[in-house]
Amino acid sequence: MDEVDAIPVIIPNFPNEEKKFYKLIEKLLKNNKEFIADSILEPINFGFTNSIVRYHNFRKEFSDVEIMMGIGNLTELTHADTAGMNALLFGIASELEINYALCTQVSEHCNKAIIEGNFARRIMHTTKKYSMPPKDISNKLLNLHERKPFPYSTDELKEMWSNVKDKNYRIYVNQDGIHVFNNKRFLH
């Protein structure tokens, strides 16, 4: 450690050996060296939940130590949309006051992981500051769903149709299906 010129990221040899890791951290704190600790986020089916608990325990044990969380083990190794995973993981990071996130874009389904992480950290930071749930502040992490997907009922669309004077088609979708209309026709 004495030779280190940059700030090292300290990881455990074995993530489940918490006490050993704490001892190492205590030793480093005594040496008064700058470092970042990463207790390792494990992939789902390989101890994910326990690894979240370990971050939680670590933060309780060391309130002032800077922590990094590498979120690639979740986003890269889960075939689910990364926007939602980023929201959840940055929510956890925000609650645990994790200082750094390591985001990766290796798997092709992760090719927006960094910008999503950027949105997620801002959404979580701001909503935490105002003690509100991470809702109604940004649509950036809503990729598959709209906040209000169907703004007009079929009755309202028919009313709009009665005012249409030109031949251009309007296309709307609501719970009843797809509606297409111009001055002459209303197709459903």
Partner: protein, 69 residues
């Protein structure tokens, strides 16, 4: 990846909001231009971190990074 390719990608990540560019090294893949890559990224104003399984990475001269696992 060549240094130019790395710089291009780093610029894209920065635009997407990345604060630090992490250079990830694979155990079995040679990366002879690692030092030069870091120097070039630093020259361009990036903050850089490095992730490697090598026990020691000495950057002679500038002493930029040295990581122990």
């Amino acid at each position: 990846m060549s240094i130019d390719q790395i710089i291009t990608q780093a610029n894209m990540y920065k635009e997407d909001g990345a604060d630090v560019i992490d250079i990830g090294c694979l155990p079995s893949t040679k990366f002879p231009h690692l030092v030069e890559t870091i120097q070039e990224l630093k020259r361009k104003g990036f903050m850089v971190s490095i992730d490697s399984l090598d026990e020691k990475i000495y950057l002679l001269g500038q002493k930029l990074v040295l990581i122990f696992y």
